[in-house]
Amino acid sequence: MTVTEIPLVEATTSETAISRLKERFPGAVQDDSRHGYSGVVVDKSKLVEVATYMRDTLGYDYLSSATAVDYHGIADSMEMVYHAYRTAGGPALVFKAQTDRAKAELPSLIDVWPGADFQEREAYDLYGIQFAGHPNLKRILLWEGFNGYPMRKDWREAYYEEEHKPFESRWPAGWVRRAEELNVYGKNVHYPADFDLAKLTDKSEESLYSDLGLGVNVQDLSTENGHLKTDKLVVNMGPHHPSTHGVFRMIVTLDGETIESLEPVMGYLHRNHEKIGERNSWNHNMPFTDRLDYLSSMGNNHGYALAVEQLFATGNKWNPPSYRAECIRVLMVELTRIVNHYWAIGFLLNDLGAFFTPALYAIAEREKILDFFEATAGARMMCNYMRFGGLYKDLPERMHSVANLINDKVRDFNTMEYLSELINERIPRSIDELDEFLTASEIIKSRTVGVGYLPPEMAIAYSAAGPLLRASGVPYDVRRADPYSIYPELEFDVAVRYNGDIYDRYLIRLDEMRESVRILKQILPRLEKTKGEPVAGISQYMPRVPMGESYGRVENPKGELGYYVVSAGDEKGPQNPWRYHVRAPSFINLTALGPMCVGHKVADVVAILGSIDIVLGETDR
């Protein structure tokens, strides 16, 4: 067992940290004085130095999010926004580095926080910012050879209609027309003007393999001293490999059966969540967040609502959610956590080769929770339940269904009875059953114990979050480290395991489910007590949000889910987010996948990937 060495922490709040920074780097660190903004702007020539100081002396060892913002039209600059935290807890230290739009270049922070790797590649891919010193600056979500940097404000997609929704063409003279009809190619494509079809090469695949030394001559394989002399073998897994939990792809370099290196390739489900999110109005984004981590939509809703509510809270005329609304939010989020962990455990076992029996047992229980979601929010998966400052509707009196189609069979349960039976009886029983079914199994142990070890300092460095981080012995849970909603008054423990292998990641999910049940049991009496309190959120359909930036984060089942939103450009308060960024835990947790897999057998890759528990909607966005 390794104990995390908590660095010597000098400053206690972000304010003192900022003043320390300004003391140490006079001139290079300035307050971000824009209205509604926080943190500091760091001169880009000093960025690495400042970051190192921040990490080593001030104790900000965890880089949560790094994202680019294009201020085209407001200022002629782009900036990278970094949110650094202490794993000991506390608020963020926000720092920014600005660069010219025409020649966007910044130093890479990958040496300070290796977790910046994918996030910088994403910023390069979507914004075209060159990161000096990044060893592998390639496109990550799109393919090599794609035309332009799509997240820039002046880049327009093929089906571009207007800068912002709602589109004029929908009302009052909205004769329907499909977007295909208006595109010259009849498809969602747009080619650059200087595009020459004759010189067309598909660089997307080539670039993936170029560094690896492609190919092996089978004839060369011969025995030497009685051992099979093996050559490096490059194996492609995915994007439709059944164990990749979606459309994830890995390029694995093997020596015999041992993994030498592994490169994740993603973007096969890159559906432009952020670009659409910036065209959308604030409200429009809520159902889109459902489709990020589609196994835990309630959690996604919660994070987004928190981020925007932070902005609302800076303006006047703002009513925070009622106590009952907060209770229901926590109820939903914790149920979602259970749903997600059922799924994660079931499909981890699938990946281990226990094909489908554990998964079927696990998701049978999931159905019962989904029934509740369906009766409350209206959909099994895409709940779209939370609103700014409240909820869509209160819990229904009865979970009542009505016959509508032929052969329909109705059900009718009292909601609170259903809930209490679910929480007090059904879920704990099934968790125990899963425990009994799997935990002691020698086969599972021999496949998982000691496999995919992630030491705690590496977990922090790679910005791993959620069960992945906590299974490595780092007790970092946003619900405790940076509390939100009513979590401070709830009694629960942060589940921690110390071995950092697949088995512990499996166990920690069981622990977390038990902790969730503990929370839910405390929520039930609160629900009874607050019956009748209003829960509705703001009723404007196109709310204006005060100017500024905010970063709302929640402890989603997969890890820390953060939303970085910027409201800028309109004095009255814009109807649309200027920047809408999702810090997706699945995406950033994958940074650690390569290092974790090295040295293991190829069959362990799927298990390690399963133990991270990714979901592609969130990874690729």
Partner: protein, 279 residues
């Protein structure tokens, strides 16, 4: 002892295996026939198999379930049967996250002024994300989320853009698929009638019946209809707008009274929206 864990796990599978048949024994063959059995099987007390034999028995969806939207048309007021509740205010089109709603606002052919009636209404269900915002934010309760999920088709160009004919469903349909929600909404409006009608009634000094479960299916009483001034909601759309737009060039100078009415209508609408917001 090595293997103990596996045996323990297998015991769980055995329990599941046994539970699968426990219900069969318990209900002695009546497992799939009775409503009570179904409710137990699909509830929280079930153990073992809980399969829904889909085409033969379907899991009815709860009231709040949302699939694709539909438009509510009047069918309880005999004088206005088939009329849209929609006033083409455009809020649903604006609030729709993927922008899949197209509305053509109706115009009076004589005056060219907008009238609170949609001339055409389209929803592209290939874009619709079933989020329910349109139904949630509609100030007239005129667009609702349907429960019918059996919509698979062999062709999408013909079937996947729903026009007004296809979208329109009577109010009684909404009452039948979501009785509790419909009652809640009617209580919020202050009657089973359309908000505009209620407003007109209030102006005329009449009060609508308090919505209850009992008067849910009643045909609206006669005074309610008489209280309704014609321009606010033309008695029948056919009366108001069958005139070809090109023909009555002479009618271009609009009668001021009518124009004023139309204006008033919009004001009222805005007031209504504001009221809802304030709430």
């Amino acid at each position: 002892m090595f293997g103990q864990g596996i045996v323990k796990g297998l015991w769980v599978t055995f329990k599941h295996f046994f539970n699968t048949y426990a219900d069969d024994i318990k209900y002695a063959g009546r497992k799939y026939l009775r409503q009570e059995n179904f409710e137990v099987r699909q509830g929280l007390r079930s153990q073992g198999a809980f399969t829904v034999q889909y085409p033969d028995e379907k899991l009815a969806v709860p009231e709040r379930f949302r699939f694709t939207p539909f438009l509510v048309t009047e069918d309880t007021d005999p004088a206005r049967v088939g009329e849209d509740w929609c006033t083409s205010c455009g809020i649903c089109a604006k609030v729709c996250p993927p922008q899949c709603i197209w509305i053509v606002r109706g115009t009076d052919p004589n005056t060219g002024r907008p009238v609170p009636q949609p001339e055409a209404f389209f929803i592209d269900i290939d874009i619709c994300m079933n989020c329910g915002f349109c139904a949630e934010f509609c100030p007239f309760d005129a667009i609702k989320m349907d429960h019918n999920y059996e919509m698979a088709s062999y062709d999408r160009t013909m079937h996947h853009i729903h026009d007004k004919d296809r979208l329109s469903k009577p109010l009684s349909y909404w009452k039948s698929i979501a009785p509790t929600t419909a009652l809640e909404e009617a209580n919020a409006r202050g009657g089973w009638e359309h908000p505009d009608v209620l407003k007109a009634m209030k102006k005329a000094g009449k009060t609508a019946d308090k919505p209850t479960k009992d008067n849910m299916w009643n045909v609206l009483s006669a005074p309610a209809n008489q209280a309704l001034p014609a321009p606010t909601a033309p008695a029948s759309p056919a009366e108001a707008k069958p005139v070809p737009p090109a023909a009555p060039a002479a009618a271009a100078p609009a009668p001021s009274a009518e124009g004023g009415k139309a204006k008033f209508d919009k004001q009222a609408m805005l007031a209504k929206i504001r009221e809802k917001k304030a709430k």
